[in-house]
Amino acid sequence: MTRKRFVILSLVPAIGLLATLALVSIAGAVWFALMNRTLRSPDYEFVGAYNFLRLLRDHRFFNALEISAIWELVTVTGTLVVAVLLAVLIFETVKKPLWRNLICFAFLVPVLLPRVAAAFIWRFLYSPSLGAINYLLSLVGIGPVEFLADPSLALVSVAIVDIWQWGLFFTVILLKLMETLPRDPVEAAKLDNARTWEIHAYITLPMLKGPLISLALVKAVESLRSFDLIFVMTGGGPGTATETLDLYAYQMGINMGGRISYASAMSILLLIVTTVAFTIIWKAGKKWAN
């Protein structure tokens, strides 16, 4: 078999199938967004930009946009801050490889949990009447706190679960990366009597700038897939306090009367916003890392 034939035979089925599925879903979404199709009736007709114009007057859509933006900001920064702080702490205080490995194993467990399982675990812990967290709070005279039923707390309470899963995971990655760094610059700084936090703030973390940017991007993409966690923990509530765009699109398209066309218009806007945003961040990140 020639080289060319091997390349074609190996690439065409995989890339062809991926491209077909991606194209079908994007073309399908654009097509349905221009119609007035619902799940209830098989009849539909062309309505042009009507769905998009209605979105611009939909308060709930703008609320979902805002919640999604807050969610991205809180989970990405929260995850990175937790990961950097804990990685430095463990790097400085735990020197024995055995203990380090044990901590790494413990920190990898949460991210492996299915989102549905993590959501149930924390709903149980957050419960006002029988949750362990509220019991601990009651020992110091606080509570009971309605973590998931209070509109001002619900989003943060769900974000904490996300940071619990991903912050600890990124801690392990950062710790492993820090172990691979050359020791010389750190030794030199120690000879100059640099303090521990100075060494990390000015030497090790800047050396890890590239990987940190990649991690932030990975988390930003991952945070867009928040549906599972929020759906099980709050279902978007109380009210619309935790309703992100994917939850709203799901409620519109499937739960409430199946307004497929309206939900398609929303998912197209979501697709455009994320593609543009990530391409810009991707390019800027590459430039900044170099």
Binding site: F6, A29, V94, L108, L112, A117, V172, G253
Partner: protein, 271 residues
């Protein structure tokens, strides 16, 4: 003396961190073995009479059993097909396609940017029209987007780490590209590839949104678990905890492999 206090403090802090990481899960495992009256107590109980009732309830429940079976079929089929199609493609991208390989890789990665709702909503209508809504085949088909792209994304670096000399020597001996791939690159990259498959398995095993929208009777375990908040009047916390444990077990089996995958990725330099 000051040093002693600070080491004790850091030890306590690290202990606390391990509790934060594992405590919630262990608490759920405990809850799975409790009767409801041991769960609904004002003061959480650490000592109680363990019961297997919750596990018996979920394993006897036909919906949950079906969910488990569907999960096993859908996840293994989509990961297997993803591997068969994705691994050779990754080898070609890593070794034979230098000029446009980067563009193809960016396309594959960009599929991960796609919000799952943007896939789910058009597909629900297309599946209804084609008559494959609520079938395992339909679920496997959409999961292929995830499995093929993830396998390619993780397998390309695995093949890049295979030493060039070995492949070149094999080619000099007269091996065709397919033979080089099958007899040399594949066995050498196998440990990393296995890690990539495990990661892919965890991703689809954990998936909820697509299964929730594209299936009804034939849903997978996460969908079934998400829907058991109310069996009867009271919230059956014991049963929910047991279902959570069932859902959590398969991914956790692979934690050692994930650690190995991380180690090899970090050693080869960050992406």
């Amino acid at each position: 003396m000051g040093k002693l206090i600070s080491t004790t403090l850091t030890r306590a802090l690290l202990g606390l961190l391990i509790i934060v990481a594992l405590g919630p899960i262990l608490w759920t495992v405990l809850g799975a073995f409790k009767e409801l009256r041991d769960i609904v107590t004002p003061v959480p109980k650490l000592i109680f009479e363990p019961t297997l009732d919750n596990f018996a309830t979920i394993l006897r429940n036909p919906t949950i059993r079906d969910g488990l079976l569907h999960s096993v079929i859908v996840v293994s089929a989509s990961v297997l097909i993803g591997a068969v199609l994705g691994i050779p493609a990754a080898h070609s991208l890593a070794r034979h396609a230098r000029r446009w390989g980067d563009d193809v890789q960016f396309f594959v990665l960009s599929l991960r940017f796609m919000p799952p709702v943007a896939i789910a909503i058009p597909f629900i209508v297309i599946y209804l029209d084609l008559g494959i809504y609520d079938t395992l085949f339909g679920l496997i088909l959409v999961y292929l987007i995830t499995t093929i792209s993830t396998v390619i994304w993780l397998a390309v670096p695995a093949f890049e780490r295979v030493p060039h000399d070995i492949e070149e020597a094999a080619a000099m001996e007269g091996c065709g590209p397919a033979e080089v791939f099958w007899r040399f690159s594949l066995p050498l990259a196998a440990p990393s590839l296995f890690g990539a498959l495990v990661f892919t398995f965890v991703l689809v095993w954990n998936e909820l949104l697509l299964a929730l929208t594209l299936a009804a009777q034939n849903a997978t375990l996460p969908v079934v678990a998400a829907s058991i908040t109310s069996l009867g009047k009271e919230v059956p916390w014991g049963v929910i905890n047991a279902a959570t444990v069932l859902l959590v077990l398969p991914p956790l089996v692979f934690i050692g492999l994930l650690m190995g995958l991380l180690n090899s990725m970090v050693r080869s330099g960050p992406k």
